[in-house]
Symmetry: C2
Subunit: 568 residues, 2 copies
């Protein structure tokens, strides 16, 4: 492709609307343009990248035996009423009425539609297992679309749905998709991790997320390579203390702590560590407020906590009036001693002795608190986020934490949708059997943003080869004024294109510096500079986008290098 | 692909919902399944066909220098208000509100969005010409979705939009698209015609439609190969009479015609031909009713008529009360003699002498009516549909009429959108210049239906090679019981697949008759039957879908035949 014919416009300035580097670079490099909040046009160069993602995804899904189909984007409300999600899904679901006032939505996902197809098309266990997938435009009416294509409202997703006769079949289908997803992200040249995850509103039992690793990732991932373990911090489990608790050494004392509102304030006043304190949070429960007690340096985990009996889901902090009424105190001076409500203690709290906490009296705290003396022995639960150094579930090591961007998610749905919608087949004995379902998503548009978050420098994008919009950029010096350069550049362009490479020929009448800057911004892996001086020596100047220095290569060497590096 | 792994289910019965043969065959062959009114899922085999269409379309668009991008399906109302179409478009536009009560629509077309992109991205005449296209899901909320994918509500369209500095540039861009479209339909193996058309609600000056020819087509096409002319009958022009009018031979007479309501009744009573009568239709005009006078055997053309001065658009027949008040008579006895309202005479009427018509008195008609004596000499206009034998505009021949299905449409929009939305570039003198636009659509999903309407027989679909979901089907006889057949079939499957052919291997444990019927229904071009007897002779039984007889070929002959027929 000739630059002059490609209609590409790059930007020097960082657009003000873009908060994160991938969004900034996508706008600057002309990959996308914003139409409205959360709506983006994929410009020609961006679409090339998107298609490369789609191609790899399709090839690996086909290889795994999945069958591609294409369902409508617009879905009738009746199916969502059958599954119960018309009411559950809330304002993320973009709803509309047709000219006959019938209710429809713009599908954010297709469990209902595929289950409707399955219950009509699949009659016998002999037709199973089957896995249908599509690459399709979805819509989620995000309350705050941001981060460009990473949290857009309209986006492209690969969604797949497997149908099996039983749980063992589902397990096998799920593992096939696990392998296919691993192959996809490996082929795309991305550093990623598979992590255990919460199933959320989709429902079902087991699920795992595929995360592209990046410091800017929204999700924290706890992992331990020794234990082959990785989990979203949202769901990573903590465990009861194995080490015994130290004996009590201090006596209980109530002290005045005027102005102390936070753990930080308390530690500063008493010259102790946050890990020697506990904090008490009051949340809404099914029969009035419930207290949650954590070590002062730990964070509450809402996903795990809201699954406990008697806790409201989604987790909701109690308001101040409720707290004052229930404790006689205000947030900042709360504690479990003498507290008259149900209390959940985190596992880690049970290991503490001689700790400090609020005294349920404004401006007062206790020090030297001990279980079994000042408080009953606690029954403990898992309500906090894991931290670096926590033991792994397998017990073979301790956790590290990294950050990632979720680009894929695989679920064992089980019979949630097939039971609700009556999707059955005849088993070998002629009996009707509800099918076991799995669903498997990949955020196609999101991958492009995530890849940039993982691969960039101060000059622009550094595409992994398989994602690059072009394999190589040709930068001729003095193209418009030198016949030698023009002939050599045209010949090279033709030869490289014929060898199957995607070549961007920068034929603009612009300064070399402008061309170099654009090539770096766009992130093309290989750059060849064609100048009269080098041509005289039979050479081309070569530089890889990830290298800081260029080097001169004989023309044949350069061609060989490009052909060897070209992606399958 | 093995049939057993392809999840394909065919139907023996003709589904009751399907009115036309393409819809029936698409359902029977399992190409699509209905989700709701006008919403279809493309099943795996249907999607294969769709992708073949898309690939050819993309290749020819790219070859013509158009740049593919992808705009959002969901469009903000503000842009449609700028162009004025938010109010004009009516209930075909599927409207919705997001969670913040902002108005959006599901795009039925993208003139507004692309013009918004163009006014932001294009600054200089140096960036022109440019032609952006996309292959995308659209929605039109049809009042009566029917004919399966031919008039669905959600459908896939290839839409392209060209931008030029002036009309001469637009003309060149338009001709490029004309050539690209011709190449596309030729490569798809379809019989088609390019016809002059009305621009309709899109606006603009010149437009042409691409029609796949089929007896069942909704559109009538007037054409004359000698004159290289083709036009949708909607817009095909008629001309003032060149031959002189015969002299009057009869005197005017008013006769009683009790019970005569139609031209047919009148002709039977008087024993004359419809071409010796005229009919008078009363329509709404800007200042009261207007009469339209046509020869009795001609049909009114609404598209041409509603463009006349003083006629309501869209054309609306006057109600009976208005007619009675204005004429003193009722429909069935109307005529131009003594009629007190504006009258438009069709060109063909002026050639008549001694004709019959209503007398504006219930149950009475005139015979022997003549212009210049009983009526003033008429000023004539073009308000009827052309008929077979009408002269062509070029005058070199006469018209024939065939039927077609519109699958493509190219428009010269001019400055309609670029003026309304302020899409300008700097011209060579630095002055702002409004861009000239063209737009170019192809109904991707519709092509599949149209191709079937053109190519089928009583047993099923007969795909043109380039559209076929599979090039060849292998039908082994006794696969499950004969090792010889199984080994030969597997080897053949592998060899053909390796040679780049799309092969369907019917590995089901089913009777040969079932397999033959499905292969014919699905319409696979080449069929190879593998049986023990033929294998013993080193032969395969070959049949092309369009042939009635099969023949035995040596294995090598069969392979060579398939390789030679394989589509580029």
């Amino acid at each position: 492709m000739r630059f002059s014919e490609f209609g590409l416009t790059t930007l020097k300035e960082v657009p003000a609307e873009a908060e994160i580097v991938s969004h900034q670079l996508m706008l600057r490099a002309g990959l996308v343009r914003r139409l409205a909040s959360g709506l983006f046009t994929w410009m020609p160069i961006g679409l090339r990248i998107l298609r490369k993602v789609e191609t790899v995804v399709r090839e690996e899904m086909d290889r795994a035996g999945a069958l591609e189909l294409l369902m409508p984007a617009v879905q009738p409300a009746e199916l969502w009423e059958e599954s119960g999600r018309w009411d559950q899904y809330g304002p993320l679901l973009l709803r509309m009425q047709d000219r006959h006032d019938r209710n429809f939505c713009f599908g954010p996902t297709h469990e209902e539609v595929i289950t409707d197809i399955a219950r009509r098309e699949l009659r016998s266990y002999k037709q199973l297992p089957v896995n249908f997938y599509q690459v399709q435009t979805k819509f989620r009416d995000e309350i705050r679309p941001r981060f460009g294509v990473m949290r857009a409202r309209e986006f492209i997703m690969k969604d797949a749905y497997s149908f099996d006769i039983d749980q063992a079949g589902l397990q096998a289908s799920y593992e096939k998709m696990h392998a296919a997803y691993s192959a996809i992200f490996t082929r795309l040249g991305l550093k990623f991790r598979v992590v255990d995850a919460d199933s959320g509103e989709i429902g079902g039992s087991r699920s795992q997320e595929f995360h592209v690793l990046a410091d800017s990732g929204e999700d924290a991932i706890a992992y331990c390579d020794a234990d082959r373990y990785a989990s979203n911090v949202e769901t990573a489990a903590t465990f009861p203390a194995s080490a015994p608790r130290p004996a009590a050494a201090q006596s209980l004392e109530k002290i005045a702590t005027p102005g102390v509102r936070t753990i930080e304030d308390l530690c500063r006043l008493l010259d102790i560590l946050p890990s020697q304190t506990i904090k008490t949070l009051i949340v809404d429960g099914s029969d009035g407020p419930v207290a949650l007690v954590l070590r002062g340096d730990h964070e509450l985990n809402a996903v795990k906590t809201q699954k406990l009996d008697g806790i409201a889901s989604p987790l909701t902090m109690a308001d101040t009036a409720t707290i004052v009424k229930a404790t006689g105190s205000e947030p900042g001076s709360l504690g479990p001693v003498g507290l008259d409500m149900p209390v959940y203690f985190d596992h880690a709290v049970a290991r503490l002795a001689d700790f400090s906490c609020g005294a349920n009296e404004v401006g007062h705290h206790y020090t030297g608190v001990n279980f079994g003396r000042d408080l009953p022995e606690p029954q403990t639960v898992d309500i906090r986020n894991v931290v670096v150094g926590d033991p792994t579930p397998g017990g073979k090591g301790t956790l590290s934490i990294t950050r990632g961007i979720e680009v894929g998610h695989i679920f064992q749905l089980g019979d949630k949708y097939s039971t609700a919608m009556g999707a059955t087949v005849q088993d070998p004995k002629g009996k009707n059997q509800v099918m076991s379902m799995g669903c498997y998503g990949i955020g196609i548009t999101r991958i492009v943003g995530a890849a940039i978050e993982q691969n960039h420098d101060e000059n622009g994008i550094i595409w992994p080869g398989p994602l690059a919009p072009f394999d190589v950029v040709l930068v001729p010096i003095n193209l418009q004024r030198s016949d030698v350069v023009r002939e050599a550049a045209e010949a090279l362009y033709e030869e490289l294109t014929a060898s199957g490479l995607d070549v961007l020929f920068d034929d603009r009448d612009a300064r070399p510096g402008v061309k170099f800057a654009d090539a770096e911004l766009i992130g093309i892996p290989h750059r060849l500079v064609i100048s009269e001086r080098n041509l005289a020596a039979g050479e081309l100047e070569y530089r890889h986008r990830s290298e800081s220095e260029s080097r001169n290569l004989k023309r044949e060497e350069a061609l060989k290098l490009l052909e060897n590096s070209s992606v399958s």
